[in-house]
Symmetry: C2
Subunit: 206 residues, 2 copies
DNA sequence: TAGATTGTTAATCGATTAACAATC
DNA sequence: TAGATTGTTAATCGATTAACAATC
């Protein structure tokens, strides 16, 4: 398969959400340059990305909204449900749990973990919260392949180690530190602090 | 001034946090290749970035931790306090407020806004929460230059419009939609949903 | 058809990396 | 000095964009 860049995947994710919005307005078709405006990109880029998912438009009517969404889904989504575990049920952890609760996606959070006895063995945003020591058992039993790290910076590495040993194939790290993992584990950093510093820097330059 | 890419700013932000950790361990100096390992990058990249902030290391001892941190700070941080406003005091909004509360950074959240009467006129994580209708007045009175959007997707555009009209020069958008703003306003999207889809996609490919 | 779009290639652009003289 | 590092240039790499023949 052709090598796909993280940026391409990110854009496809955005396209899909924009298309979803269009579909709910009963929009049937869209041209590459129209979609480009909605995502603040270029038409040629949109066409390349659409090509990458293997969908073909019509030279007269452009892209069919519903079919393009479906093609992006085929490309991005796992063939079956992909289960995730979230470690750290603070405000950010609960915000993420809230987003995934009830949504019918191929991506779902199967278990939450925390060390706080007040949170353990309760249901938070529709998800059962386990003590951290049960992590390995629950991850393996529920076939969890993706770990979400929402603990404070000083605990992130220990949690990452635990998740890797339990056998996840990817990590989504929200803690503001760089974690070290075995090379076969994919890490995606969501560095909110960097985002603030970038926004502040470029807003200043105008 | 030489054009600086968003990526460079992001890396500098990461370097600074890594250096902070080293300093708290009383580490005095570090070589480019050592720093590269800690941020999962390349030594040449580190050297280029360090050059960009105008700091010079020693060919025998590498970089001085404290001085490099200071140089990055000079480069990244605003000369005086930069005030931000956050709109949307849900779980994510509170997580962000919590992070900034009490921290002594040049970046601070001066005001929060929500439409929920239960939240308005209270202090959340040390920050006063105002009704949305006061936004313009508060933003101008407190010289707020950066807006943080943590409302649901369907309200993000309206909030962005309100913030732009109030005169902010940058937006940090956490809502999972693309917002349209005047060209003089800088938008930084933190697309958490895209991050999940990217992580899931690449974890699968291993 | 005439006109506008598509898929796709070629050209451009920018960022990353390798290499090396200068330095201590 | 000998050796390892730095700043910095040159080479490489990859991603974006422009351009255009093919299509309806």
């Amino acid at each position: 398969m052709k090598r796909i860049s993280p940026k391409t995947v990110g854009r496809l994710s955005v396209y899909r959400r924009v298309l979803q919005g269009l579909q709910s307005e009963n929009r049937q078709t869209i041209y590459s340059h129209e979609l480009a405006v909605l995502v603040a990109g270029k038409a040629a880029q949109v066409r390349r990305d659409v090509m990458a998912v293997g969908y073909m438009g019509s030279t007269t009517r452009g892209y069919n909204v519903r079919e393009l969404m479906r093609s992006i889904g085929h490309f991005l989504d796992a063939p079956e449900q992909q289960a995730m575990a979230i470690v750290g049920v603070g405000l950010l952890g609960r915000a993420i749990l809230q987003y995934f609760s009830g949504s019918r996606l191929t991506l779902s959070i199967a278990a939450a973990f925390d060390i706080d006895p007040a949170k353990v063995n309760r249901v938070v945003q529709g998800c059962r919260c386990y003590p951290l020591k049960d992590l390995r058992r629950v991850v393996q039993r529920s076939k969890i392949s993706l770990g979400i790290i929402t603990v404070p910076a000083d605990q992130a590495q220990a949690v990452a180690d635990k998740l890797c040993r339990a056998g996840v194939s990817g990590l989504l790290n929200f803690a503001p530190v760089r974690i070290q993992v075995p090379s076969e584990v994919h890490v995606e950093n969501v560095d909110i602090i960097s985002a603030f510093e970038q926004a502040a820097f470029f807003a200043r330059e105008e």
